[in-house]
């Protein structure tokens, strides 16, 4: 195994400008800078799965979007397999793919069509994708007879499986999963989790999983980090986190670490 970390993040900082008040003709809205992430430092070993827990608005999606090259930082550094995310975004884009909470497809197009054009963006020729797409759809358990149906006719669980297939089609060495099972029914959730587990076993993928689901984090991740108000306050194994906070469960450990219940608040930037 290579000694080079898969992901190396140091003092990463991101701020957004927010407007206060309702505005209107008379009342000019004031702008203020709000830190979405401040001084986040961590690293991921190759092949490791790390889960990041945090409430809504804690900065999980901002972290994923920074590593996906969709945001520019305000300080610190981030590297993916030695490539600076902000200076060499193209090199990073070739190594990374992502599954987010919304499946995000052209809804009238079929799974095969959505996967086909996405593959092209990663340099896969029609010949390569013609072979790879049926294989990957079969792996995620997608019925072959439904490959031509519009995405909008598929269930959320099915759509999320196609999202996983899209991410895997490009053979990413770093997979960013941003709440991939949120909103799924229990059966679909288990199927997606099982698939994530099999990706780890069969591929050499490193996984950063941002989730609300404590059980999911504990079941899938080697280490678990807690992101609270933009700061990564701890990162360790589930057992070590529980021991450090004298807690029986991960939820109790989260409560002890953040001083808050694990509930939805605010919105992610």
């Amino acid at each position: 195994m290579s000694a080079q970390p898969a992901v190396e993040v140091r003092d990463l900082r991101k701020e957004f400008i927010r407007r206060d008040g309702e505005g209107g003709l008379r009342h000019r809205r004031r702008r203020k800078r709000v830190a979405a992430l401040h001084d986040v430092t961590f690293s991921l070993k190759r092949g490791e799965c790390v889960a990041i827990l945090g409430q809504n608005g804690s900065g999980k999606s901002t972290l994923v979007r920074l590593l996906s090259t969709l945001l520019l930082h305000d300080g610190g550094t981030a590297e993916v397999f030695g490539n600076d995310v902000f200076r060499r975004p193209r090199a990073v884009q070739r190594l990374v793919n992502r599954v987010s909470v919304e499946a995000s497809f052209f809804k009238r197009m079929s799974p095969a069509e959505n996967l086909s054009y996405s593959a092209r963006f990663y340099g896969m020729t029609p010949r390569q994708s013609r072979e790879a797409i049926p294989r990957i759809l079969e792996r995620v358990g997608f019925p072959p007879e439904r490959r031509g149906e519009p995405m909008e006719d598929l269930s959320r669980g099915m759509q999320q499986k196609i999202a996983l297939a899209r991410a895997l089609l490009t053979a990413p060495v770093l997979l960013l999963l941003d709440e991939p099972t949120t909103g799924l029914d229990p059966r679909s959730k288990l199927e997606v989790q099982e698939f994530i587990r099999s990706i780890r076993e069969e591929h050499d993928s490193t996984i950063l999983l941002c989730t609300h689901d404590m059980a999911e984090a504990e079941a899938l991740a080697d280490r678990i980090g807690i992101l609270h108000e933009g700061a990564l306050i701890c990162l360790d194994t589930a057992e070590a986190l529980k021991a450090a906070h004298g807690a029986d469960t991960l939820e109790s450990a989260f409560l002890a670490a953040t001083g808050r219940q694990f509930e939805d608040e605010g919105g992610e930037e």
Partner: protein, 278 residues
């Protein structure tokens, strides 16, 4: 010495083809909407070209054949240029609407390949639709194209495509910077081009300030060139006066469009605008 990275070039070409492929799928999936929009365009074009006969029946002394062709070219050329402009301008708006914007912008596809792919698709689709529109509308009319040089008219249309793709790239950045207002601004820019370019009248009838603006609009030269080709049978050589400004605007507009888009993308990444909800 310039050294081409053939792997990188091949990857860009595959990505470029991916954009064309995706848009082709979309046209196929929205086929009935395409039919509806096409029929609407036919009806709209007919209402414009029948103005010539209407003017004659109202007692005005007009050359009906010539006026019908002038209006027909105006409507058909604007339909083409409008479509080209709209498809390139809505590069970001479509992606945001469908929610795929983050996946496209995090893919290792260069922005020139992305935007030029949109432009190439728009040109191919626009030419096919325009030829069909011209044929269908002409079938309803009692006009003769005695001197027409359709080959020269197509050359003018091809030359204008570069400039419109370039201008479309500049306006495509608007929804990236301002998700709410960007698309509206794109429509305003399209409307401005429609007014100042002499689509249904000579630009000489416009107020002076609009005539000055018409000089920098590629649609002005496209319409003049297409009319000279179809009405007077002007050859490509005779149309050089219309073709070179179009090529010049294209040579300036495409790199300028890419540069403006790159700046806009940087702004969007800095301010967190590169996401589905804006």
């Amino acid at each position: 010495m310039i050294r081409f990275d053939t792997v990188a070039v091949r990857r860009e070409l595959v990505g470029f083809a991916g954009i064309v492929e995706r848009n082709t799928y979309l046209i196929r999936r929205f086929a009935w909407w395409e039919v509806a929009w096409f029929l609407y365009t036919v009806a709209n074009t007919l209402t414009i070209v029948f103005i010539a006969k209407g003017a004659e029946s109202a007692g005005y002394r007009v050359d009906v054949n010539q006026m019908t062709i002038v209006l027909l070219i105006g409507a058909v050329v604007w339909s083409y240029l409008g479509l080209l402009f709209e498809i390139v301008t809505e590069t970001v708006a479509w992606e945001r609407w469908e929610g795929t914007i983050e996946y496209t912008f995090m893919a290792p596809l260069s922005r020139p390949a992305h935007l030029l792919g949109m432009g190439a698709f728009a040109v191919v689709y626009g030419v096919l639709r325009t030829v069909l529109l011209f044929g269908v509308v002409s079938a309803f009319l009692d006009v003769t194209f005695t001197n027409a040089d359709f080959g020269s008219a197509m050359v003018v249309l091809a030359a204008s495509s570069f400039s419109f793709v370039g201008i479309g790239m500049m306006t495509a950045v608007l929804p990236l910077i301002s998700p709410e207002k960007g698309t509206q601004l794109g429509f305003i820019a399209q409307g401005l081009l429609l007014v100042i370019s002499g689509v249904y009248y000579p630009v000489s009838v416009l107020p002076q300030w609009m005539q000055w603006l018409s000089v920098i609009s590629p649609a002005t030269y496209t319409l003049e060139g297409a009319r000279k080709a179809v009405l007077d049978g002007a050859s490509v050589t005779a149309l050089w006066g219309e073709i070179w400004p179009l090529l010049l605007i294209g040579v300036i507009a495409i790199p300028a469009g890419l540069a403006v888009f790159a700046q806009g993308e940087r702004y969007a990444k800095r301010h967190g605008r590169l996401k589905r909800s804006g």
